[in-house]
Amino acid sequence: MKRRALFGGAAAVGAAAVGGAALGGVMGGADAAATGPLTVDFHGPHQAGVSMDPQAHQSLLALDLRPGIDAEAVRRLLLLLTDDAERMTRGRAPLADQEPELAAVPARLTVTFGFGPGLVATVRGRRAVPTWLGPLPAYRTIDRLEERWSGGDLLLQVAADDPTTVAHAVRLLVRDSRAFTTVRWRQDGFRHGAGTHRPGTAMRNLFGQVDGSANEAPGSRAFDEIVWRTGADAWLDGGTTMVVRRIAMNLDTWDEVGRAGREFSIGRRLADGAPTTGGSEADDVDLEAVDARGFTVVGPAAHVRRARPDDAGQRIFRRGYNYDDATGSGLVFSAFQADLERQYLPIQARLAEQDALNAWTTPIGSAVFAIPCGVRPGEHVGEALFT
């Protein structure tokens, strides 16, 4: 494992947005208080909360519009939530906040908005709903989807490095949504704690695997090409598409698998996430490599082989969070890609057809959202949807 000299305090945290696939050393000598005041701009050509090194804690909320909520009411809702997000992401209390002290530590808080088909139809009519904005195709070989983790009209992705900040932001956003919506589901997740790993370190999931290795570095040209939409609908120009999958992980049956079997199932080494064919985590997997007996080192059902793009267009950006609570253990998997049909669906179809990891994982929730373009000062999120 690569270990690097560590930056102190704010410098290390400031590097967080660069992200990337570098391997983690253990963070040392960091000034914990340096992470609290950090902010991520809410405004910009793209929504915040996607092109960044993911925060330690995240809540995803899917809201359903109440019966009778029309386009004008949706606009009022988005005005309120935009104002809340603008204030809280700057470390300021929203209007009418009775716990303003809880807003004082932004800790890289981001609030990202996604629209489900119901909201788009309400604002612009059914014909304005893109073909891809709806349930994913049914993957009958793997899916055991539950309503309580699926669908939704409005997604709020709330993330920060301080779980108290996330809880407060969620509370305020839900309070201001209550007149317009009901909460359909909420999925909380965590990555490594803030300050415990070098920024940009890929996280480990609860199987112990390094998760997100193949991600392009946020802010890189490759990332931008994979994630951001251009042209097409104005309200999505500069936006993206988001898939949320709740993947239950059976830690008990995983326990029965030895280390070699675990590495074979995915095609990466557990120690550092490097391909079993050698190199380091950032290196490509050599799918052609064979062992002394002539078998491919990476098996036919290995996750990396099945997930590997058929062509350069099949790339996605993953933003996964572990969950471990009374409902079980697993991964709140999010994927962002400019073109869901072109980039995401082929990968998902291959994994549903065959993936060694399917023996221990079960998708129990699924939702698709359109992430509208970024917000300029004075606008509310999704403003272009109303014009």
Binding site: T39, L79, A96, R108
Partner: protein, 157 residues
């Protein structure tokens, strides 16, 4: 979209929030005034209240003597003293200082409302000063379950 260090100076947020001002003369009380964080309690009842921070950059006090809004003909200036809300003739925005209108404290009282105030609705209030100048403030309606629930003016808290 890169994180940057934020000086945590959120306590006194006196940012101009694009609110219009009704006074045009530079020497009026209204001309030195700004308002921020204006909101009004959403309601489907016949009473509500509005809150904000009014600041005054002038060297003289500004004295608010009235408030008007399209929502109702009955809008009053209220103070809360000894846990009781009651109408007052005026509220002063001190020179170089600010006046907090907040739940449980001074506020703008709205009565005899004939229509609901919906969450997210924007409501304009015109503050009137004792020199006759006026200042317009736009407030956002928000659901609020907090301390301003009791409007009778006689209740002890």
């Amino acid at each position: 979209m890169f994180p940057r260090l934020l000086p945590v100076l959120f306590a006194a947020v006196l940012v101009l929030s694009g609110c219009g001002d009704g006074g045009s003369d530079d020497n009026t009380q209204a001309s030195g005034v700004a308002a921020a964080n204006a909101w009004v309690k959403a309601t489907d009842m016949n009473m509500s209240a509005a809150f904000m921070v009014v600041s005054n950059s002038a060297e003289e006090d500004a004295t608010i003597v009235g408030v008007t809004t399209d929502l109702t003909d009955t809008a009053e200036l209220h103070e809360t003293a000894d846990g009781t809300m009651r109408p007052v003739e005026s509220l002063t925005v001190p020179a170089g200082g600010s006046l907090m209108l907040e739940p449980g404290g001074n506020h703008l009282m709205l009565m005899e409302l004939t229509e609901a105030i919906d969450p997210g609705q924007e409501v304009t209030f015109t503050l009137e000063f004792d020199d006759g100048s006026t200042f317009d403030v736009t407030a956002t309606a928000k659901d609020f379950a907090g301390g301003a629930e009791d409007y009778e003016g006689t209740e002890e808290h």
